[in-house]
Symmetry: none
Subunit: 165 residues, 2 copies
DNA sequence: TATTCGCCCATGGTACCCCATAGATCAAAT
DNA sequence: ATTTGATCTATGGGGTACCATGGGCGAATA
């Protein structure tokens, strides 16, 4: 399997390090990532983490915009300014910096959530709350639109698969 | 990686010096910048810092304007008249001049923000405020983008709509 | 002369390397 | 099925190199 799947909660040690789940590490290796790129998610207190391809994809998107309009500038500000590299140490751990803590609210434990081509980092309690919100939204969506909706909507999303515990 | 990424806040010492983040310095070297140019960003209290290519970028923008309009002349004046060199000392520090302070509002601390091919210098509090504005605009953009976005929105991740796959 | 600027070194903190260990997981064997 | 043993994984800690920061000093400048 070369997709990020399932989720796990690990503890931050006294030096501020936390193990990336072994399964995720093997995916990272299989996909040939040498560095991890982490980005603050827009409207949720989580970091999106992936390989350089994640960054490439964003930069391609930015390139489509008129480089002198505000939108392109905003996007670059977001992708470059609110992004960072996470270095895996030799034991497969990352250092949880203030930058990560600030956006996520992480203090002592880190939740890792597989999302297919990338994964996310959460503060465990907030993840739980968010999971319930997502579930409620999906339920409402299905009830509103009838039976065929689930398949049609989840086509480009991966939410239904990745979020379930 | 040879792009300016992530952000950091460093303190100005009693001599008016501040360290450029080590990661940025390595990018400067990798990209072969022999000198750093600092230009006033157009509509924000920040300095754009980069190599010669930074000037090219600005001039390209000016070229887009009608040369008979005042805008082009204003821009040229602004860019060429208000640029400086930033000299890195042996320990990778730059001196924060009054010129920098004036445009940015910097007093005791400097925020460095990666922007891909260049980086920016901000007063930390103003940066934070600007970041919130940018995020709000991007969020609005995504919500306005239409139906395909719904899934991407719960996926919570990026500027682009189709997040996974 | 007074001030600034560039170069040098010192230091505390942090990030990274290496190794150790307890618990979990899995396999084979009884 | 239970037990036993080998491997894998998360976690802890020691040591080291790097980095941000502070300060000294001499040369250039005003």
């Amino acid at each position: 399997m070369d997709r990020f799947l399932s989720n796990a909660v690990n503890r931050i040690d006294s030096k501020g390090r936390v193990s990336v789940p072994a399964h995720f590490r093997s995916v990272v290796q299989k996909r040939g990532f040498t560095e991890l790129y982490a980005l603050r998610a827009l409207d949720i207190p989580a970091m999106d983490v992936g390989g350089l391809d994640l960054l490439d994809r964003y930069e391609e998107r930015i390139a489509q915009e008129d480089p002198f309009l505000q939108t392109a500038d905003d996007m670059s500000f977001f992708v470059h300014g609110d992004g960072t590299f996470l270095k895996l140490d030799q034991d497969g751990r990352i250092t949880v910096t203030d930058f990560l803590r600030e956006h996520t609210g992480i203090t002592t434990d880190v939740a890792f959530v597989g999302r297919g081509l990338f994964f996310q980092i959460w503060e465990p309690e907030r993840l739980k709350a968010h999971g319930q919100e997502v579930r409620a939204r999906l339920l409402k969506l299905r009830q509103a639109a009838g039976s065929g909706v689930t398949a049609g909507q989840s086509a480009g999303s991966g939410v239904t698969a990745g979020q379930s515990e």
